[in-house]
C-alpha cells in the first residue's frame, strides 16, 4: 500500500506563507502570555497544595457534593481563594480537585486541614479508605529549585543538540534545528496559555520530549538535504531542499501518524494523571512535524541563499 508516490509539492516556494502562519500562532501565544502575565505554573513550581478527593456518596440517600458548598466550608475555616473543580470520573463517582496556597508554613499542614474540614462537613460522602486520591503539598523552596532545574535542563538539552548536530552536520544546521525547536516550544507554551493549562513538572518533560521528537523529524530531513546537496551540485539550493523534503515526506507523514495515534490513545484512554502530558505531546507531534517541513528546512534555504549572495557559488533563482 502507498499513500504517496513521488510527490513534487513546492514547499520551499510557499515558505513565506508558512512563516506567516507560524508567526501569527506564536504572536497569539505571546499575546496570551502577556495578558496572563506569563505561563500558568502548577504547584510543582509555585509551591502550594493540590488534591483530588473521592466524594462519591457513601451513605444511602446522600447527594453529590456541590462545589459551592465545598468552597463555603473551606472559606469558613479560613482557607480562602481555593480553586475547586469537579473532574470527570467513572460513572456515578464524584472526584473533586482542590488547589490552594499553603496557609502559614508547611508546618501548619494545609492539606491535612482541608481534609479534616471535608471529613467534618461532608461525612456522607467520605469513605476514609478511598477519600484521598491525590494529595500534594509542595513548599515554595522546592518550587523555586525545580524552576531553576527545569530551565537548566532545557538549556543543557539544547546545547547538547547544537553540539551534536554541529559535529555531524554543520553549525548552521544545528542553529536552524534549535530555532525550529524554539518555534515548537513557543507554540506549545502559547497554546497552553491560551487554553489555560498549567505548566507542571511533567509538562516540562513533555516539552523536552517534543524537543526530542521534533528534532528526530528534522534530522531525517536534514540528513537527506546533506545527501542531496552532494548529489545535485548544479541545482539551486531551494529546489534541492524541496526535493529532499518530498523524498522524506512519506516517512515524515507515516511516523507522525503512528506517533500521533499512540499519543492520541494515551490522551483518550490514559487517565487523568497523564491527560495534560499527552495533550502537550499531541500538540508537539503536529507542530514538530510541521516545523521540520515548513520551518527548519526553509530556514536552511534562507541561510544558503544568503551565503550565496556573499560567495556566489551555485546558480540562483528561488
Amino acid at each position: 500500500m502507498k499513500f504517496f508516490g513521488k510527490t513534487k509539492i513546492d514547499f520551499i516556494g510557499k515558505r513565506r506563507i508558512a512563516f506567516a502562519i507560524s508567526l501569527v500562532i506564536i504572536l497569539a501565544g505571546i499575546v496570551s502570555l502577556v495578558i496572563n502575565k506569563g505561563p500558568k505554573y502548577s504547584i510543582d513550581f509555585t509551591g502550594g497544595v493540590a488534591m483530588e478527593l473521592d466524594l462519591t456518596p457513601v451513605k444511602d440517600g446522600a447527594q453529590m457534593v456541590k462545589v459551592q458548598d465545598i468552597r463555603d466550608a473551606l472559606t469558613n475555616a479560613g482557607i480562602q481563594d481555593a480553586e475547586i473543580q469537579e473532574i470527570k470520573g467513572s460513572e456515578g463517582k464524584q472526584f473533586i480537585l482542590i488547589k490552594t496556597q499553603i496557609m502559614g508554613g508547611m508546618k501548619d499542614k494545609t492539606s491535612t486541614k482541608v481534609i479534616e474540614i471535608i471529613k467534618k462537613e461532608f461525612p456522607d460522602n467520605v469513605n476514609p479508605e478511598t477519600l484521598i486520591r491525590l494529595q500534594e503539598e509542595v513548599g515554595p523552596k522546592i518550587g523555586e529549585e525545580l524552576k531553576g532545574k527545569a530551565i537548566l535542563a532545557i538549556f543543557w538539552a539544547l546545547l547538547g543538540i547544537i553540539l551534536y548536530i554541529w559535529w555531524r552536520f554543520e553549525f548552521t544546521f544545528g542553529l536552524t534545528a534549535v530555532a525550529a525547536l524554539f518555534h515548537d516550544i513557543l507554540i506549545t507554551i502559547g497554546i497552553f496559555s491560551i487554553l489555560g493549562i498549567e505548566i507542571s513538572l511533567s509538562i516540562v518533560a513533555a516539552l523536552l520530549t517534543i524537543v526530542g521528537y521534533s528534532l528526530n523529524d528534522t534530522i531525517v530531513v536534514f540528513d537527506r538535504i546533506r545527501e542531496d546537496l552532494k548529489l545535485y551540485r548544479k541545482e539551486p539550493y531551494g529546489s534541492v531542499i524541496n526535493h529532499s523534503i518530498n523524498e522524506t515526506l512519506s516517512r515524515t507523514i507515516i511516523t507522525s501518524l503512528t506517533t500521533f495515534v499512540v499519543v492520541l490513545s494515551l490522551y483518550l484512554f490514559g487517565g487523568s494523571v497523564i491527560h495534560d502530558f499527552a495533550f502537550a505531546i499531541l500538540v508537539g507531534v503536529i507542530v514538530g512535524t510541521y516545523s521540520s517541513i515548513f520551518v527548519a528546512s526553509p530556514l536552511m534555504v534562507e541561510h544558503f541563499n544568503k551565503r550565496e549572495k556573499k560567495l556566489g557559488t551555485r546558480s540562483k533563482k528561488r
Binding site: M1, K2, K6, M103, G104, K107, T112, P128, E129, T130, L131, I132, R133, L134, Q135, E136, E137, V138, G139, K141, I142, L146, A153, W156, A157, G160, Y164, R168, L201, S202, A205, L208, T209, Y213, L215, N216, D217, I219, D223, E227, T248, R251, T255, T258, T259, F260, V261, V262, V263, S265, L266, L268, F269, G270, G271, V273, I274, F277, A278, I281
Partner: protein, 533 residues
C-alpha cells in the same frame, strides 16, 4: 558469513535475556530457576506517600551539621520502622541536608507527617506563678499597644469596648484604674476564648499567636526567664480552643533522662483515669532528679512539654520516688502510640521541616495502571495493523521488532530494578509510536531503491546501510534529551527518561539488527525477486 553467526548469537542472547526477565510479568507459574525479580511499581501506580524533609542545621555549629543530619536520618528511620509500613524507603539526598521517605500503601499521610516532622523534644518545666503571669500579660498588652503598627493582623483586638468584659473575667479589677488599662488589651484579648475563658485561645486565632511567637521583637519583650506556650490540640475536636501557658524557660528534666515510654489504657471511671495515657520511666539519674524536684516543689504545677507544646501541667501533690510519670489527656490511642514511638526513638538533633509531600491513593494508582495498559494496547494494536497493511510482510517484521522492543523495555527495567511510573508508561507508549520510525525510514529507502530499479538484494542492503546513518543521528539526539531529563528529573520524570532511553536503544537494536536478520534469512532462503514492502 562469520559476521552473520555473531549477529545470530547476539540476537539469541538478547532474546533469551528479554524472555528471562519479561515472562514473569505475563506467565504466573514459572519453574523455580526463573528470576524472582519483578517490575517495581512507583508510588504513583501502587499508591503511597513520598515526603521530602529538610534538616534545619542553620542553628548548629559547622562541625556538628553533618552529624546532626546523620542522627536525624537514623532517628527518622527508627520511627518509621516502628510505625509499621511495609517496605518503606528512606534515603538521604547525597551531599544535602535532605531526606526522602517513601511509604508505599499509605492511605492517609497525616499521621506519618506528625510522626516524622516532630523533633520530639521532651521537657519538664515549671509554670510561672500568678504574679509572674500577670506581669507577663501586662507587659505584652502594653508592648502590643505601643507597637500595633507592626502587628496589623491583630487590629481586630484594638477595640476597647470589648476589653472591659475580659477584665472582669480576669478578676483584675484593682488594676482597672491603672492608666494603661484605658487602652485595649490586645494580648489578653487574643488569648481569651469567645466564651470568655482566659488563658484559652480560639482555633481561628491560633495562627496569629504562632506568628507572634515567631517574632523576635515580641519574644524579647517577654519578662526575663519566662516563655509563652500553647497547649495540646484535641484530636477528637481539632477546632476547639487551646490552652495558653506562661512558664519558666528553665528545663528541669529533658528527654535524655528518659529510659522508656509505654502506652497504657486507664480503666478508671473519672475522666482523668480513663482512656489511653503515656507512662514515662526515667533512668536512674533521671529518677533521682525527678524525686528531688517533685519533693521540693509540692503544690507547684509542672508542665510536660513535647516540641514546645504543653501536653499536661499537673500540680505536684507529693514526692514521686519511683521515677515514673504519666502524661494523660484527651489522647486517642493512635496519638499515644505515635508519641511513644517518638519518645523512644529519641529527639531529633535539629528541627526537621517537610518541604514536599505527595500522596497517591490506591484507587488513583490502580486507575492509572488500568488506563495506561488500555492506552498501550489500543495504540499498539493500531500501529501493528497499520504497519501490516501499509508494508505487507515487511510491516509484519517491523511489528515483531515492535513487540520485542516493548518486552525488552520491561525486561531491562526489571533487570535493573528500575521503578515503573505513570510517566514511564507514557514513555513506553511514546516509544511504541516512535519505534517503528526506524523501520519506516528503512522501508521507504528500500522502496525508493526498488523504484530506481535495483535488485531486491541490493535494494535491501543499501536501504539498510543508508538509513542507518539517519537513524543513528536522529536517535542520538533524542537520547541526549532523554539523558538530560534523567539528570534533572525527580522521581516520575526520571522514570519517563529511563523507559524512553531503553526504548530508543531497544528500538535501534530491534529495527536494525533483528529486522535485517529476518530480511537476510528471507532473501537467501527463497532467492526471491519480489518483496512484500
Amino acid at each position: 558469513m562469520r559476521n552473520r553467526k555473531i549477529r545470530g548469537l547476539v540476537i539469541l542472547v538478547v532474546l533469551l535475556v528479554t524472555a528471562y526477565y519479561f515472562l514473569p510479568m505475563v506467565v504466573p507459574n514459572l519453574p523455580s530457576f526463573w528470576t524472582t525479580k519483578r517490575l517495581i511499581l512507583g508510588l504513583d501506580l501502587q499508591g503511597g506517600t513520598q515526603i521530602q524533609l529538610e534538616v534545619d542545621t542553620s542553628i548548629l555549629p559547622e562541625d556538628e551539621k553533618e552529624d546532626a543530619i546523620k542522627t536525624a536520618y537514623e532517628i527518622i528511620r527508627n520511627r518509621i520502622d516502628q510505625f509499621g509500613v511495609a517496605e518503606p524507603l528512606i534515603q538521604r539526598v547525597a551531599n544535602e541536608n535532605r531526606i526522602i521517605i517513601q511509604l508505599p500503601g499509605l492511605k492517609d499521610p497525616s499521621r506519618a507527617k506528625d510522626l516524622i516532622g516532630q523533633t520530639a523534644m521532651l521537657e519538664f518545666k515549671f509554670l510561672a506563678s500568678s504574679e509572674q503571669m500577670q506581669e507577663t500579660y501586662e507587659t505584652m498588652d502594653k508592648f502590643l499597644q505601643e507597637n500595633i503598627q507592626n502587628y496589623e493582623f491583630l487590629e481586630e483586638f484594638t477595640d476597647v469596648e470589648e476589653t472591659e468584659e475580659v477584665i472582669d473575667v480576669l478578676e483584675t479589677e484593682e488594676d482597672i484604674e491603672d492608666e494603661s488599662y484605658d487602652n485595649a488589651m490586645i494580648f489578653t484579648d487574643l488569648t481569651t476564648s469567645k466564651d470568655g475563658n482566659p488563658l484559652k485561645i480560639d482555633y481561628k486565632h491560633i495562627a496569629k499567636l504562632k506568628n507572634l511567637l515567631k517574632d523576635p521583637q515580641f519574644l524579647q519583650n517577654i519578662p526575663t526567664g519566662l516563655q509563652i506556650a500553647l497547649g495540646k490540640s484535641d484530636k477528637n475536636d481539632p477546632y476547639s480552643a487551646r490552652d495558653i501557658y506562661i512558664l519558666h524557660k528553665k528545663v528541669e528534666i529533658d528527654g535524655k533522662s528518659l529510659e522508656n515510654a509505654i502506652t497504657r489504657v486507664g480503666q478508671g471511671y473519672t475522666a482523668k483515669d480513663k482512656g489511653p495515657y503515656i507512662l514515662l520511666e526515667f533512668k536512674k539519674s533521671g529518677a533521682k532528679k525527678f524525686k528531688n524536684i517533685t519533693g521540693q516543689n509540692i503544690g507547684e504545677r509542672l508542665a510536660i512539654m513535647l516540641d514546645n507544646i504543653v501536653f499536661i501541667a499537673p500540680t505536684i501533690e507529693s514526692r514521686i520516688p519511683d521515677g515514673q510519670a504519666r502524661i494523660t489527656g484527651n489522647f486517642t490511642i493512635e496519638e499515644c502510640h505515635d508519641l511513644v514511638i517518638m519518645l523512644n526513638a529519641g529527639s531529633l538533633p535539629a528541627p526537621v521541616n517537610i518541604i514536599e509531600e505527595r500522596t497517591v491513593g490506591p484507587t488513583l494508582g490502580s486507575d492509572s495502571i488500568k488506563a495506561g495498559i488500555l492506552a498501550a494496547i489500543i495504540g499498539m494494536a493500531i500501529v501493528i495493523l497499520f504497519m501490516m497493511i501499509y508494508y505487507g510482510l515487511s510491516g509484519l517484521f517491523a511489528d515483531i521488532a515492535l513487540v520485542v522492543n516493548v518486552a525488552f523495555i520491561i525486561a531491562v527495567m526489571t533487570m535493573l530494578e528500575g521503578t515503573l511510573t505513570m510517566p514511564g508508561i507514557a514513555g513506553m507508549i511514546l516509544t511504541i509510536g516512535m519505534a517503528v520510525d526506524a523501520n519506516v525510514i528503512i522501508f521507504e529507502r528500500i522502496r525508493e531503491n526498488i523504484r530506481a530499479g535495483k535488485t531486491i538484494r541490493s535494494a535491501v542492503d543499501s536501504g539498510f546501510n543508508r538509513a542507518m546513518v539517519t537513524i543513528l543521528d536522529a536517535n542520538i539526539t533524542t537520547l541526549i534529551t532523554a539523558l538530560v531529563l534523567y539528570q534533572f528529573g525527580t522521581g516520575p520524570i526520571k522514570g519517563f527518561a529511563v523507559t524512553l532511553s531503553i526504548g530508543i536503544v531497544g528500538s535501534m537494536f530491534a529495527s536494525i539488527v533483528l529486522v535485517k536478520a529476518i530480511f537476510d534469512g528471507l532473501i537467501t532462503n527463497s532467492a526471491k525477486d519480489k518483496l512484500s514492502i
